[in-house]
Amino acid sequence: MAAPVSIAFPNGAPRLELRGICKRYPSVLANDLINLRVAPGEIHAVLGENGAGKSTLMKIIYGLVKADSGELLWGGEAVSVTSPAQARRLGIGMVFQHFSLFETLTVVENIALGMTGKPDLATLSAQIVSVSERYGLPVDPDRLVHTMSVGERQRVEIIRALLLNPRLLIMDEPTSVLTPQAVEKLFETLRQLSDDGCSILYISHKLHEIKALCHAATVMRAGRVIGVCDPRQESPRSMAKMMVGADLPVCRPSSIAAATERCLVVDKLTRAADSAFGTALDQVELVVHAGEIVGIAGVSGNGQRELLTALSGETPISENNRIELLGTPVGAADPSMRRRLGLCFVPEERLGRGAVPTLSLAENALLTAHDGDMVQGGLLNFGAITAFTRRCIEEFQVKCGGPNAEARSLSGGNLQKFIIGREVLQKPKVLIVSQPTWGVDVGAAAFIRQTLIDLRNSGTAILVISEELDELFEICDRIAVMAKGRLSKPIPMAETDLTEIGLMMTGLSKRQEGRATQFGSGDRP
């Protein structure tokens, strides 16, 4: 564990200081005597795994949540931040991880809502344009939010915060929805802000980014501050070690070449969006062979959801032979039929889709594994259900209170291990996994990735959809990119790299033509 490094404050008091902040929830101590100091103009990272307590701490600073005890000093003076409006008055701005925008209103209406008093919309529009130009965040004030892409919405959130001339800007996991190129642009904006004297609190678990951007980092683990360091002098590995408290596990790579059997075939799949806010699929083609892992990279909102529900059968399509499972056309089939053919599926939402939160693990096992001996003659066989659940808990190292524990009592990582375990134990011929390690702690994430690799080696065809490029590069044999409802031709991993995939995510590069064409501002279309 790195020794805590003290950050010098040459210009007097820190912009923001937290002393002994505590916050307890019924089942967990989210913040335990947190100390934090941010200098003026400093880009300060708050680094920690999911569940470390970072979000809670930010909510306390922004006035959304009240701390149980502790002090908050702003510019050296103790203050009590009781509401977001007051936080904004003090000069604290926040850009949320999950945007707080109203879809059916325009950009300027949204921003007006966040301001006190009755701002004149015309003046506000002019201000929006000027801020957006100054910081390189192009945005049209009169556009309706629901027509905007995720990257554009984030720009609106940032501009909204900047319009109030903040002295401290909190950014909560800002890059989870951006392509590598867009991340660079964001960093330019943030550096400029920092030069102008605004401090930035940068919440993230992405070590490369923190190293590239931040001046200082406070590391949190399980609700406590473990230490403070200078990311410019650390390596991602050493920071990870601080974050996790132990050495990071490494995946054993794939050992066997893929087979030639075509297990999952998608043939020019086109379908309209399933809702007013969705994305249509356009001529998607895909083949997954036995014993290989194909990855689909891309920011959410580009048709992944529509593709997944078409593949799983949750929203079947009309043309039956556009999707083939082990040679059988299944486009119009429901999930039960596809499961009987050997398909298993792990969705991106654990609670509320992959598992029912208020049911026990045993009852959740029944959710998808019911084709075996768990159901006999229409009646439930409790013995078989419990046996299966115990096996799952043991083999996949699920930390829980037993087969009768409620699904929602498990941590994200453990529940994900259970769900993946449940699907793997059914010995699928084809496994589709969406966002396998989203919101999962590092240890569980490594376990899950290893599970997928082992499954691949045993001959299952696996399709992984993920926003984390690092993860895809670690486990996949071939990779494709999903952008605007279209899927690129999958490329073997050895023949590509992060930059190229990043470019493809913006929809610019046309690899088949062997050249890149520039048309836009380099962010998520």
């Binding site: 959304l64 509401s83 409006a85 999950h98 109203f102 007006a112 007013a276």
Partner: protein
């Protein structure tokens, strides 16, 4: 021309309680709360208005107190759902059942009793207005109040900042909370407004439309008002249209009987209910329409496959 004018008046008169109740529920639902108890609040308002009017011989006092009665009942609902986080559907049903029971109990002494207050008379000059004067005097001032409420709701929702905040709360309570708006307070006001309007609707039925009290006299109009809000895809101008369409259906029933058409009266009475079903189906079958217009938390309840 006479008959046309008579039909028009009958339609407006029959539609007015629906206008009040549906406008009130529209505002409530726009803030993201589904209050199924409209029928109960209307009945409670009706019995209150009747009792007060009977005792004080003052119709306006009766209506005024009825508005409070409706709001009071809706406050119980607000307490259950906003403060205690109880299930909205179950709480609304409880409100409907309670309102029906309480009004039946409280109204027992008033069954078969006649109101003896002075009927409302317009000032002499009103009937003198050219062309529409004689028409205007045939409508009770509450009808004009309903139009004023319509105008007020439209102005509030689309022209004021408070209305914008209410719509924002309805569309995305989590975002509104993040921005710092007091979601529950906004919703409370919306629910109270809905209750007051339902109370006025009931009052109108008991002391203007008829001058009687009978158990269950709203005969499902509260539920029809709920359907109307869906039919109107949560827009006030369509609520007005829908309410008068129903008024028209009710009027048809009366005129058909008067014209001697040999249809059993019960069948004619069933028309409004059947019409409600048809209207619900027509709107609900277009899920995109519902999704784009419904306040997000309600969308699931009415859209089904949310």
């Amino acid at each position: 021309m006479e008959t046309l004018s008579a039909i028009l008046i009958a339609t407006l008169v029959a539609g007015t309680p629906l206008v009040f109740a549906a406008l009130g529920e529209l505002v409530t639902e726009r803030s993201g709360v589904l209050n199924l108890g409209v029928e109960g609040m209307m009945l409670f308002g009706a019995v209150t208005a009747f009792a007060v009017t009977y005792t004080t011989h003052n119709l306006w006092l009766g209506v005024f107190v009825a508005a409070f009665a409706g709001a009071a009942l809706s406050a119980v609902f607000a307490f259950l759902t906003l403060t205690l986080n109880a299930n909205q559907v179950a709480s609304g049903l409880a409100l409907a059942i309670f309102g029906a029971g309480a009004s039946a109990f409280l109204g027992k002494p008033y069954v078969g009793v006649a109101l003896t207050h002075e009927p409302f008379e317009f000032a002499g000059w009103v009937s003198g207005i050219p062309v529409i004067g004689s028409f205007l005097v045939q409508l009770h001032p509450l009808v004009y109040l309903s139009w004023a409420m319509f105008g007020g709701v439209v102005w509030f929702l689309y022209r004021t900042r408070a209305g914008l905040v209410l719509r924002a709360v309805g569309e995305s309570p989590t975002s509104a909370h993040s921005v710092g708006y007091p979601v529950n307070t906004v919703r409370l006001y919306a629910v109270l407004f809905g209750g007051a309007m339902a109370g006025i609707a009931g009052a109108y039925l008991a002391v203007v439309y008829t001058s009687l009290w009978t158990e269950g006299m709203t005969a499902g109009r509260g539920w029809i008002a709920l359907a109307l809000v869906v039919f109107a895809t949560w827009r006030p101008e369509r609520v007005l249209l829908g309410a008068y369409l129903f008024g028209g259906v009710t009027t048809t029933q009366l005129f058909a009987q008067g014209a001697g058409i040999p249809v059993p009266p019960e069948m004619m009475s069933a028309l409004p209910y059947l019409a409600t079903i048809v209207v619900l189906v027509l709107i609900s079958r277009n899920p995109t329409l519902v999704q784009l217009n419904a306040p997000a938390p309600l969308g699931k309840l009415f859209h089904g496959e949310g």
